[in-house]
């Protein structure tokens, strides 16, 4: 078809009513701008909150749970296999939290190419001795380098240097809350007592801020060696293996597999933190809903302007038809008008949306909970820009569809007779 002519006529009609057209286009621009900014901000926030958890949480955690044996001897006995056996008050036997044979397990993990990396860990229950009173606490014995590589340990050590933990013997990085309670300064030596009564002096080399105050009041970090010494265990003793996978979505299946393979408890991140997923998806849903609502409102604006234009341009449409433009041509003219509004409005919206996002990105945002964050978080995912442009075109097309059909059905005889 004569595409150039259609565009030519469309543009002339547009320009003849440029003020209304501008208003309609601004409607689209505004809604796309808000759509982009809102989604960028919301998902930036989501990433941030998820990051709090995801960065700090292993995709799969292997550990030993002390629990009663699932198969009591009587249920193994063939003699009573047809009976119902009730055993009350079953107690776990004296087991250790240690992961046995962990060297072999870690070798197996090294060979598994689904695994991005892993970090062994020891959790030790302790009391921090402050004068006459004892505060309960947990010391995590970690492989400092692995912990930093996989879980960004450095970002959360807000005072002091994280690597001192490895280099200075018998050192500890205290949770900020715990340090405040103990009034322990950098370089001070504090005393801790284990559950078994062993005492140990540790030098404070840093403070740790996770962003979750309850954790910071209790948890501290030491190197694996220090923790082993504290617990009086051999240098092969570990209680947890934290695994990061290349693909987080594989976590549940890998956890199941390892639990079976290594005969350990294995928990995956999705199970451990399901509430975060829900929060994120609800926030995303709300952003989309608001953005799309704005677009629909803009769509009505376009619908109005086109209807008005058609009403005003009845004569023009009639003569175009009388001189050989078919209904389909007239339809194309008005669809082109609608799409022009949509494309230009949408394009500007994308640009302004990016600008607004960049602006929000500059606004200072300081919170004690999130030490690494200095400004409001923004996600510049191109996906939002794609969705925004697709939506602006689809809505304007739909908004143009009915008026255009109406225009194409105009009977020139009725118009001409009316004069």
């Amino acid at each position: 078809m004569n595409f150039k002519l259609i565009i030519d006529v469309s543009v002339s009609l547009l320009l003849a009513r440029w003020k209304q057209t501008l208003v309609a286009a601004i409607g689209v621009t505004f809604s796309i701008t808000m759509f982009i900014a809102l989604l960028g901000f919301m998902s930036g926030l989501n990433d941030l909150l998820d990051g709090l958890v995801v960065n700090r949480t292993p995709h799969v955690r292997l550990y030993n749970e002390i629990e009663p044996t699932k198969d009591q001897p009587i249920s193994l006995s063939r003699k009573y296999s047809k009976d119902y056996n009730f055993i009350s008050s079953v107690k776990p036997k004296n087991e250790r939290l240690e992961i046995y044979n962990n060297g072999a397990i870690m070798n197996a993990l090294k060979k598994d190419d689904r695994v991005l990396g892993f970090a062994p860990k020891i959790t030790a229950q302790v009391f921090y001795n402050v004068g006459a009173i004892d505060l309960t606490g947990v010391i995590n014995g970690v492989d400092v380098e692995a912990e930093n590589k996989l879980f960004f340990f450095k970002d959360y050590v807000t005072t002091g240097n994280y690597i001192d933990l490895k280099n200075i013997p018998n050192s500890i990085i205290l949770g900020k809350g715990a340090a405040q309670k103990m009034m322990a300064n950098l370089g001070d030596v504090i005393q801790v007592t284990t559950t078994k009564g062993e005492r140990m002096q540790l030098k404070v080399v840093g403070y740790f801020e996770s962003g979750l105050q309850d954790i910071d009041k209790v948890q501290s970090y030491a190197s694996i060696g220090t923790a082993q010494k504290l617990l009086g265990e051999s240098n092969s003793y570990i209680t947890d293996i934290q695994i990061k996978l290349k693909d987080i979505l594989m976590a549940p299946s890998v956890a199941k597999e390892y639990a079976h393979l290594f005969d350990l408890e294995a928990v995956d991140i999705q199970t451990a933190n399901s509430q975060f997923e829900t929060g994120s998806s609800v926030r995303t849903l709300i952003s989309y809903a608001v953005g799309i609502t704005l677009l629909i409102v803009a769509g009505f604006g376009i619908y109005n302007i086109l209807n008005m234009m058609i009403y005003e341009k009845m004569d023009s449409i009639a003569i175009l038809k009388a001189t050989g433009f078919s209904g389909a041509d007239v339809n194309r003219i008005f669809i082109t008008i609608a799409l022009t509004i949509g494309v230009f409005g949408g394009l500007l919206g994308l640009i302004f949306g990016f600008g607004l996002s960049a602006l929000i990105d500059q606004i200072p945002f300081n919170t004690a909970a999130l030490p690494t964050i200095k400004t409001y978080p923004i996600n510049y995912n191109p996906k939002f820009y794609m969705i925004g442009s697709i939506f602006s075109i689809v809505t304007t097309y739909l908004a143009g569809y009915f008026p255009s059909r109406k225009a194409s059905k105009i009977d020139p005889v009725i118009i001409i007779r009316g004069k």
Binding site: N2, T323, R417
Partner: protein, 231 residues
């Protein structure tokens, strides 16, 4: 075959609203190439209605219309639009020019729609038509900057752009004063006599009709008289 440009065979037309009335009754006639024909009759006798049917814009009728020997009945909307574009030129009482475009562009539009000539050629042809009508100096004005008579001449130029088989006019001089009517008539006459253009013009002006080559007189939806004027 013959050189019948337009043929109306048993054309009848009914309106159903508010009551069933027959406004055209078995209209039969044909036009040959180069004829300059006027249609006259009392107001309401069905002249405009007939013209809309002959021009393919109104498809709700019985009987048949042949243009250049081709039956119009049963053709699709898009095909009829094509025929109007290429074979029929219109001039109405009202000029129907698009104020968004220049005079020249208005004349060009049906030519661009056809796409038979390049844009440059269409522009040249449009300019030539404006010259024939003596308004080439107004080519780059907007229609709303022209006088009524000038607008009507632009409308005639637009009707001519695709060298149509036939020009149809529904009271093209109805809105014009004596002087402008005279100019328009002279243009039609020149087109008929010098360019052998076929014309079918509805008019109320009996003086106008007397000076054409053939008069078709209608009454109550029927042709009551169809006479050639002897010169």
């Amino acid at each position: 075959m013959n050189n019948k440009i337009l043929e109306s065979i048993q054309v009848s037309k009914f309106f159903h609203d508010p009551v069933d009335i027959q406004v055209l009754k078995d209209i039969n006639f044909s036009l040959e190439k180069g004829e300059f024909v006027s249609v006259i009759g009392k107001s309401g006798c069905g002249k405009s209605t007939l013209l809309y049917i002959l021009s393919t814009m109104d498809t709700d009728y019985t009987g048949n219309v042949l243009i250049d020997g081709i039956a119009m009945r049963g053709k699709k909307e898009a095909d009829l639009a094509k025929i109007r574009n290429q074979k029929i030129g219109f001039v109405f009482q009202f000029h129907y020019l698009l104020n968004e475009f220049s005079v020249l562009k208005n004349v060009m539009l049906p030519g661009l729609k056809w796409g038979n000539y390049s844009e440059k050629e269409v522009e040249h042809r449009a300019y030539e038509k404006l010259k024939i009508l003596g308004i080439e100096n107004e080519a780059f004005k907007k229609p709303n900057q022209l006088s009524g008579g000038q607008k009507q001449r632009v409308a005639i130029a637009r009707a001519l752009i695709n060298d149509p088989l036939i020009i149809m006019g529904d009271e093209p001089t109805g809105n014009l004063d004596k002087k402008n009517s005279e100019i328009v008539f002279e243009i039609f006459k020149e087109l008929a006599e010098e360019f052998n253009q076929t014309l079918l013009i509805v008019t109320h002006d009996n003086e106008f009709a007397e000076r054409t080559h053939r008069i078709i007189e209608m009454q109550d939806g029927m042709i009551i008289k169809d006479q050639k004027i002897k010169k």
